[in-house]
């Protein structure tokens, strides 16, 4: 099966039916290994056991941005190449991205209270991630508000690309402004500054959560294709009844 074949929703559905069980199994194994390693990781010399929140906070924060990146590529697919599955991919990714962003915000807040003495601070990193969360909700509302899927697709694609401006702001907010949030410790020039005892469980969790996203995204895309099939059959039924 070539990449171009996947433009056909029926072929895409057949592929997802084959790969989803394997992806779900691999995700479950990686997340279980990740949770075990996180539980066994040593305490940090400053943060104590609170550092364990990092193993769920950081992968969710990475995915919050990554999912918007995937949606931005899909938006280009909708506007430039008019790929039939591009809008399906973007629409299916939005609620999953919103969930990851919500988890990044809440686990960050729960980590911040014991470490910073506050659940929330209106600093650049936290505020820009909150804006990302609100953009996810806005995009989901837009898809629901417009009845015609092709009109909704174009409007959502434009909004997604405009929203992508927020991604470098989130990434570099800790360098451009004074914030409570620590600077990057893994994806930075000169390599990760984290000790292996923390880095390995963190990377295992990050890969596990990324696989979780791929699994949920493919399943949600399959649902969206079926929803569009239902819609077109309902329209055919209505036109048959009218004739």
């Amino acid at each position: 099966m070539t990449l171009i074949d996947l433009a056909n929703p029926t072929k895409f559905l057949s592929l997802t039916a084959r790969v989803l069980p394997w992806l779900a199994g691999a995700t479950a194994i990686l997340l279980l290994v990740g949770f075990y390693q996180a539980a066994m990781a040593p305490d940090d010399y400053q943060q104590g056991a609170t550092v364990k929140i990092m193993f769920v906070h950081v992968p969710n924060a990475w995915l919050a941005m990554f999912v918007w990146g995937v949606m931005s590529l899909a938006a280009l697919g909708t506007l430039v190449w008019r790929h039939p599955l591009a809008d399906v991919a973007a629409k299916a990714a939005a609620p999953i991205g919103a969930a990851f962003t919500f988890l990044a915000l809440v686990t960050g807040s729960l980590w911040g209270r014991p470490m910073w003495g506050t659940y929330w601070e209106w600093d650049a990193r936290l505020t820009s991630v909150l804006i990302l969360f609100l953009m996810y909700l806005g995009l989901m509302a837009l898809w629901r508000a417009v009845d015609d899927p092709s009109r909704a697709a174009r409007a959502a694609a434009v909004l997604t690309l405009v929203g992508a401006i927020n991604l470098p702001i989130i990434k570099f907010s800790v360098d451009w402004w004074n914030t409570l949030h620590q600077p990057a410790a893994v994806l930075r020039m000169g390599g990760p500054s984290l000790d292996k005892a923390f880095l390995i469980p963190l990377l295992v969790m990050a890969v596990g959560f990324s696989l979780l996203f791929v699994t949920l995204h493919l399943a949600a895309m399959r649902n969206e294709i079926l929803r569009r099939r239902v819609r077109s059959l309902q329209m055919m039924q209505a036109s048959q009844q009218a004739a």
């Binding site: 539980a39 686990t107 949600a220 649902n223 079926l226 239902v230 059959l233």
Partner: protein, 59 residues
């Protein structure tokens, strides 16, 4: 496993919340799949067919 120390409730709440939201996502996607398949079965039973001639529930 080491003791979770004085901030155990923050750590446990974080992990519980992540597990809960992930389970909600999985449940929502699974239920949505069943709902769409059910709607396709109903449409097929009412005599509506796809332009390709394949069954509505065919993948």
């Amino acid at each position: 496993m080491t003791s979770l120390g004085p901030y155990a409730s923050f750590i446990v709440t974080s992990y519980t919340l992540v597990a809960a939201i992930v389970l909600i996502l999985i449940g929502w996607i699974t239920l949505d799949y069943r709902r769409q398949k059910e709607r396709l079965r109903e449409l097929e039973a009412s005599g509506v067919t796809r332009r390709s001639g394949r069954q509505a529930t065919d993948i």
